[in-house]
Structures are given as C-alpha cells and as structure tokens.
Amino acid sequence: MEYILIKTLEAMATFILAFLVGMTYGGVVRKITGRVHNRLGPPWYQNFIDAFKLFSKTRGIHHGAMHFLGAAFLMVTSVVSLMIIPVLAPGGHAWYNSWFTNMNFNGDLIFLLYIMTFGPLGMAMGAGQTGNPNSSIGVTRGLSQMVGFEIPWVMALVALMISYKTTSVIDFMNIQRETGTWLMFANPFAFIAAVLAMLGMFRYSPFDIVGAPTELASGPVSENGGKFLFTMMSSGSVFTFAKLVLYVDLFMGGANNLVMLVVKTFLLYMIPVLYGIVSPRYRTEQAVRWFWGWPTFIGLLAILYAVMF
C-alpha cells in the first residue's frame, strides 16, 4: 500500500514537472518567434494565462460523446507516454532522481511507438464528430503526415534496437553511461534520421499542415473552445515534453539532474522551432515526399550501419 502511494506521488511530481516545463517552453517559443519577427513578443508566462482563461470560460458546447473522446485520447496519450518514459536517469546523484522513473519496463520502446500514434487517432474520431469540414481535412492531413515521419523515426529506433539488442529505454541510458558515448555519436545516422522525423513530429513550419493557420483555421481543434481547448493545450505541452525527454534519453544519454534535463531538452527543441520560424509551409504531398526522401534514406543507412558494425 505504502509503495503504491509513493509511486502515485512520484507520478504526480513527474506530471507537474512536465506541465510546468512544457507550458513554459510554449511561452518561450512564442517569445522567440516574436523576437525573430522583430517584435517584443508576449511574456514567457503567457501560455499559463491563456490556459487559465480557457479553463475559466463559462460555456463549452459539445457535439456528442466522440467529441469528448478526442480530448480524452490526447490526454491519455500524453500522460501514459510521460509515465513510460524515464524522465531522469535512475542512477543519478540527486536525491530526487528516483522520483522520475515511473512505469518503464522491458520493451517500452515498442509500446511507445504504438501509444504515440494513439492520440492523433483519437483526435481523428473527435474531429469527425464535430462535423466541421476544416477538422476533417486537418485530420486527413495529419494522418498522411504521420505516415510520412513515422518511417524514418521507426527506422532510427530499429537501428538502435539492432545495435544493442534491447527495447528498453532504461537499458539504452545505462549503455550510454557505461560506454561513455552518447548514441548520437555511436550511430549518427540514426540520430539524423530521428531529428529529421522530429521536424514533422512537432508540427512547426514547414510541416504545420495540420493546424495550418489562415488556411484550415487550426484544423482538428477548430470546433473546440474553452475547457476542451484547455485540455488539448495542456496535453499537447505535456506530450511535447515527453517526446523531448525520449529523444534526450535515447540519443543524449539522459539527464542526471533537472538542470541538465532542461538544458538538453531546450537545445533539442530549438531545432524544429528555429527551422520552423524561417520556413513557409509545405503542401501535404510535398511533406510526405520529403519524409520518404532523404530522411528515409538516412534511416536505411542507420540500419545498415547497425547491422554491419
């Protein structure tokens, strides 16, 4: 009983950390975008104010049961992937290190591959119920794009699995600690393929074809206001953080303390953000063709590299 209580508290600590860091990153990204546009930009805590305002909307209409499931699936996806991914390396020095390795198990990488596509599928159901044509187009585009970037992403992960004959994220972190080499240097092709897939995963320009401002009117979320949007916004922030932590765990050796975690995830996050600020938008077929071009080729190289060496 005591064990379960402690585990629950640890999970809550992880969630609060992910929420705070994810929302802050969202605000910082808006600030950086503003500075690149030669504007002052909103304050870094603007996302918290937005979320609180959305939560305190007094009206929120819905379009049926499936509409609720869209937001619920997104929430489940973000929380479950956060619980599976070990946020800090378990053998670190800081006293709070054991808090942040929640429910990881052998084979969690395969489970993560599945659960990370679960949220968009739920969104597809919810968006279909709203009956808004923009939502349906956005969902179609989102699933096409997912087909695009999943291939280099899976290839990168398969290359790692072949090299080290394990499917546990904790094992990858331990291997990097023992050998002293980050996997981004041990198998550079896998890292490059994964980073190129990340550009699509975070949906910044030029791959913002799902939300597509001024074109699709925010796509799948266009019929969601108030508390629905709050749920999606906060789960999106948590999910962003979870994905960044997964990248850091797999390729950058994980983090031993919270400061290193924030530094590493922020540096990694800046790749899609800064590339996105200065890019226009691709069309759907251009995006898919882009992902099936060089990223997939580099993913193939990663697998060959893993098999040969």
């Binding site: 808006r30 503003g34 504007r39 104010i49 609180f52 305002k53 305190s56 925010s218 206001g225």
Partner: protein
C-alpha cells in the same frame, strides 16, 4: 468555504485578470478596417505583447472585432458567428461605420448602429482608426473586463427578443428559418 461570497469574488477577480490579459481576437474583416489589423499585430505595434492574439475560429475566440460597415448580408453571418462564440465574449465596434453608418449612413443595404443587433462593449472611433487607436480601444476593453463590467453575453441573452426583433427587421426571411446550430 468554497462557495461563500468572498471566495467567489476572489476567484472572479483572478479569472477577470486572466481574461483581460489573454484576449483572443476574431477579426471579422468585412470592411476596410481589416487593413489596420495587420500593422496592429505585426512588428510595428505588436499587440501580442499585451496578450492579444488572433483566434482561428469563433469557438476559440473571446473578442469579435467588427471592422467597418456591415451590410444586411454580412449581419446574418456576424450574428451566427457571435452566437457560436463561447461566453464570456465581447464585441468591439471598429470605425465610424459601426457607430453611425459612417460614409454609408444613407445606403440602402448597410446598418447604421451595430448596438441594435449585437451588444457592443467598446467602440473605436475613426475612419479609419490608426493602430494606436485600436490598441487604446483594446486597452479600454481590458480595463472593463478587469472591472467585471464587460457582460455583453448576458445582456444579449436577457434581451434576446429585442435583439432578434431588430435582426428580423433587416433580414426577415433568414431569422425565421435560422439554421440549426447550438450555441
């Protein structure tokens, strides 16, 4: 403890503060005033630093900006968009046309006073109002939201018959068989 008057007042103060600092604007750009929105939002005047941000759809928006004249045809759409927004919601009348018809005051198919059809919270005068005036008007809106006086949505629901009668006068056929949508 959680439901007594003072606690509710404190919660409402915090909520109103958040509402005033996070205003998502749905620019209904039918008139010429829409040309002033772009400089207001971009690097010269940068309204985003004050918490304003463009909203993509009526469901996500807090403020509807009516930028200029409204013809009988567009009033129908404006009413429909307004009813789709989620309260608390506000309307800002932009330019002279929404106050007295402006240069279209004697036109056969434009409305003269927007307040007869939708509850307007703030008017921004001018033809066209410059971005400074727009930001001043939005700051005024922020102020009345913070004071809790921006209750246009309640006013609309309380006086629904009066508003609907006015709308029916200018678009008799449309209001009678209004499309089926939920607010």
């Amino acid at each position: 403890m959680y439901n007594d008057k003072n606690s509710k007042k404190i919660v409402e103060t915090i909520q109103n503060w958040a509402r005033s600092h996070s205003v998502w604007v749905l620019a209904y750009g039918t008139g010429c005033g829409a040309i002033e929105i772009a400089p207001t939002m971009t690097s010269r005047y940068d309204a985003e630093r004050l918490g304003f941000r463009g909203a993509a759809t009526p469901r996500q928006a807090d403020v509807m900006l009516i930028t200029g004249y409204l013809t009988v045809k567009t009033v129908k759409r404006v009413v429909r968009v307004y009813e789709q927004m989620q309260s608390p919601k506000y309307v800002v009348g932009f330019g002279s046309c929404t106050i007295n018809g402006g240069m279209y005051y004697d036109s056969y198919n434009t409305i003269n006073l927007l307040d007869k059809y939708l509850p307007v919270d703030v008017y921004i005068n001018g033809c066209m109002p410059r971005p400074e005036a727009v930001i001043a008007g939005l700051a005024k809106l922020q102020q009345i939201i913070r004071e809790g006086k921006a209750n246009g949505a309640e006013k609309y629901l309380e006086n629904l018959d009066w508003y609907k009668a006015n709308q029916r006068k200018i678009a008799p056929k449309w209001i009678a068989k209004a499309p089926d949508y939920n607010w």
